[in-house]
Symmetry: C5
Subunit: 301 residues, 5 copies
């Protein structure tokens, strides 16, 4: 488990309890000890609605389905909001590390903000090993979201729970392309790390450069031609590799494209993937098969 130890060295200032919880994710499932993570997040029922999320595979209406999938698939972790976790916790116990997603938004309102729907203490009560939070860098409420994030990170730390931050730029003066632009993504990762994230979740960055004031730097040296190169730059922006960054799978896509993206993340030095709809919107057997392929990519050296 040398990869785990090397990664944890970068969190040397944290308490043994928090480091042990972070180690649970790195030492769980099929990728244990490789320094790579594959996590199943199921917050789409709140974010997009239950029908939009689970109608393609109605087994997914049952919270128990997902946590069992994470266990059986040998995943590194499982994440969901409060109500679902209250169903899943007695079923999962210690068979898969779990993140309680503390805040969520719905498509019912257009406000670019997240509602805090659970507390770090709920995570502790439900036997989770970490908390998850979303921030929207660039949004009109970004300042408030950062201050909330600071408070939740501090509260979680006091309970020895690491924080995983979903950093999803949007809103304000950002263009739609800017939401996944390389420079914006690097900035989002940097700010998430700065507010104390232990693990950062981003969408895979595109080659687009958004910020004109960031222009000079990226004009001289823009590492944006290939996805592995862009992933490597994000890793650099996340304290030169000292903070774990994992990448989301996004909306349902064909398997070849998904696996190619995963391979590029691995090649660029990304720490793993957090993939929801691409996994749970298909029958269980197909889902387990896909998970197996993703794990195989990250397990290769």
């Amino acid at each position: 488990m040398s990869q785990t130890a090397a990664i944890l060295d970068n969190y040397a200032g944290e308490s043994p309890g928090l480091i042990a919880n972070l180690a649970r994710f790195l030492n769980a499932g099929a990728l244990a000890g490789t320094g790579k993570l594959v996590i199943l997040p199921v917050d789409q029922g709140v974010e997009h609605g239950p029908g939009a999320s689970f109608a393609p595979n109605p087994d997914g209406y049952d919270p128990a389905y997902h946590v069992q999938l994470a266990i059986d698939g040998g995943l590194s972790g499982f994440a969901c909001p409060l109500g679902m976790m209250e169903v899943c916790a007695p079923l999962a116990l210690d068979r898969v590390p779990r993140l309680l997603k503390l805040n969520s938004a719905t498509v019912l309102t257009k406000v670019q903000d997240q509602s805090i729907m659970a507390s770090p203490r709920d995570a502790l009560r439900l036997g989770c090993q970490g908390i998850g939070l979303t921030i929207y860098p660039g949004a009109d409420k970004f300042e408030e979201m950062l201050e909330e994030a600071r408070e939740l990170v501090a509260e979680a730390r006091a309970l020895s729970l690491p924080t995983f931050i979903w950093a999803y730029p949007r809103g304000g003066t950002l263009t739609k392309d800017g939401e996944t632009a390389l420079d914006v993504s690097a900035y989002a990762a940097y700010v998430a790390a700065s507010v104390g994230a232990h693990v950062i979740k981003l969408k895979p960055p595109t080659a687009h450069i958004e910020l004109t004031n960031a222009g000079p730097a990226y004009a001289d040296w823009a590492p944006n031609s290939t996805l592995p190169e862009r992933i490597a730059h994000i890793r650099q922006a996340a304290y030169a590799g000292r903070r774990i960054v994992i990448f989301s799978g996004g909306a349902r896509k064909d398997d070849a494209a998904l696996l190619e993206e995963v391979a590029a993340i691995h090649q660029g030095g990304g720490f793993g993937s957090i993939i929801g709809r691409n996994v749970f919107q298909r029958p269980r057997a197909e889902a387990l098969a896909l998970i197996g392929k993703i794990i195989a990519i990250y397990a290769a050296s």
Copy 2:
């Protein structure tokens, strides 16, 4: 009481104290042990005004009238706001399980929000077995309401009190038809469950589909042709039947229509009804007779 036990299995992560309080409702009155609930809510005096609520049957101006009706009718529970409960509590003691409705709105103002008018600690002080809360999914203040709900759910849980959430979509970009649309109702139930509701109260859903972004899911598979089918879908959206969902009676209507609706809820797998004006806006003898018919429907297997 096997139905009670089967239902309570879905709340396995809660404290014995909270489960015991939830069991009080399931094991009370004429429907004890059937897994079905019929509850009398009397918050209309605040929501619509005392004259609009009680002039049809002036006995209703007296809080004591209602709690006695719930006791004599063999109901599963009784719900009302703070001031009324302060009158009712010494009269009811343990003869009917009671919910303190913590927040309320009035028609005196047009703001789509609820004022918090009591605390979970008031519920404990008054011998109640649970708290009631209203949220307005889709409203401009929905994010704040969710955060308030989270705090009250947590505070109630710390006192071993379960939370019943009235999920009433309205406001924002929702159309009037959208307030009871099947997709919006399912979404509302899902979000209420996600913030930690133990029991969810909805209006019976219509066949209307509101959300264009939820379209694909419901386009392929819209279980909306009959009320039982729609009720079954709501049950599915509430964690595949793992969370209790009950349905309101709405404005005064003729008895045949009301009883037909109740039968459809029962047929679709709904867990019961929460009926106010249809009961208390008629003389006591007639009210008891109607309650008897509703109970008879749910008592049938």
Copy 3:
């Protein structure tokens, strides 16, 4: 003192300490034991300005003048804001029950809100037996006012102090006539009771019906032809007589009109009067004479 005991039965759920404090008002002065209250409120200095309030009788600039008037007049209670009470408390000690008026507005600003200028703990410190609060049903800030009221009621209850709520509809979509309309007054009394008021203060209601949505109820049955009938309806709306409702005297008027109004309140079953300017804006001897006549009306059976 059988009237006192009968009234206090309706507060059976409260602590002996709170009931004892409420009993202090019912058992004080010339109306002790009759179940009726006449209270002197002196918050007009803040609400309308010292000149507008006290120039007609400059003795009134001195807080000590008023509390002595309440004692010498055999009144049931005395109410004023913090600063005045700080002067009056060492002078009154236990010679007249006292309410600390916690919130106030000024005519210096046009905002329809009240500033909280004292706390329930101040009431305890100053030897008061209750707190007073104003709410504005219908105002744009009504929701916030209700939530503040809830907190202050709870805080006062924890100190065994009963709460007297001044329910003064205004603002929002209410017309000027609507502020004292019978339906709006009944609604205001009901909401004040619902948030936990032990005693409610209203202006005498007029025959006007304001709310169109309350129309059907009041269309069928509008008890609004005489003031005693209207008072009786307010009593009904206040939990069928289970909550004490007293009525204000309003702006200075001629004595005959005032005494006629008091007689109508008594005839309709009102619990008493709370009269300020009509009392303190005249010389002391005349004020005592008027108080004597008001008391005589309520003392008659």
Copy 4:
């Protein structure tokens, strides 16, 4: 020291500790025991800027200069904001009573509000005998300022510290003349007393009458023809002389006018002066000479 004792009788409800601190001001310096106060406030550096305040006499840039001036001039007290007091406290120790001015505004922004820049606990830590607060009666934020004042007064009282309120009407619908109008000044003094001020600071009132709704009272009886008459009316409005009211000196003016104003304040029964720029914007020797003349006026019976 009979004047001190007579004044303190009006604060009989306060703790011995608070009364002792208030007595410190009344028993300090050249006016000890006369019932009169002359206080040096130095908050102009924050309110108007250091250059605008201290360039006329650059010795004033040093906080130590001012507190030494207060000591050497035999003043009753010294007031300044936090940072200055942190320099002055170790120098003054118990040689002059001191007020910590808790809130301040700057001319850098146009908002009619004050920022709270220190706490009552800071006053205790720095050995002060009281706190100072500014409120703006009539301003758009007046309600919030009153609520903040209430909290700070309560917090200071819990530490046995009296509160001095700077009551400076402005903003909202007030005209410029209205800011020092007799009726508005009397109202401001009354509200400051009502929120619990122990000492009130006003600007000397003019003969202008501002409030139309206060018109009748002042129409019948307007004590506004001379400054002593107006001062006497302010004293009346401040609970018939039961609360100490002192008057500010305002912007730099010629000495004759200033001393004439002081004499009028004394003649009208005012309790003293609080004079800053007229003192510290001249050389030390001249400042001490002027202080001597002011003290001599108040010392005369």
Copy 5:
């Protein structure tokens, strides 16, 4: 170390623990005991983005690079936000005094405010000897920022940590030139001192005079012809030299201009420099050479 002792005399009211922490900066590195400070701040990654900050010298993506530079350069201190400090703290231990920068802004949003991203308790946990805060005198949110500053200063003091305030005027009615105008800079320094800053960071002031209401003072006597004269005026405004003021280096410029500016700060009596981009945006050897030259200027008497 007589200079250290003389400076610390001005903080005589603080606890020995806080003074010891302030002394750590004055007694560290190559300038120990001279009364001068040169500090390396690395908050530009958050303020301007990681690419804009570190692309010129990619070693800077790694937090460890900067703290080692501060140690090896013999600097008086090192400052950075939370996430970076969490990496740096285990590496630095007691080899360089450290400030935790508690608030930060990003160029992703246009709001002129700072998000609080860490707490004084975080500074203690990470072994820092002080906290850093930015305020924007003149900004629309300046009042809120001052109140937040007051709370953080108090919280830090309770942990014996001194506060360094970055006072950067901007926004509201200030012109771009006004942000560094002499009068505005002096005012900003004065307000920062007034809210309790122990050390103040400013940009070097220009000769521009911005405030028309400050005009008279500066019209008679404007010490603005040379940079040393302006620095001396800032020192005067900071309580006549009783508070430490240091000056930032600003955007990357040529070395000769930078060193000339440093010499002028020294000549005018400034207490030192806080220089980031001019140091870390060049290779390490060049950076150490430049640091050496800056230190040499301040070390000269």
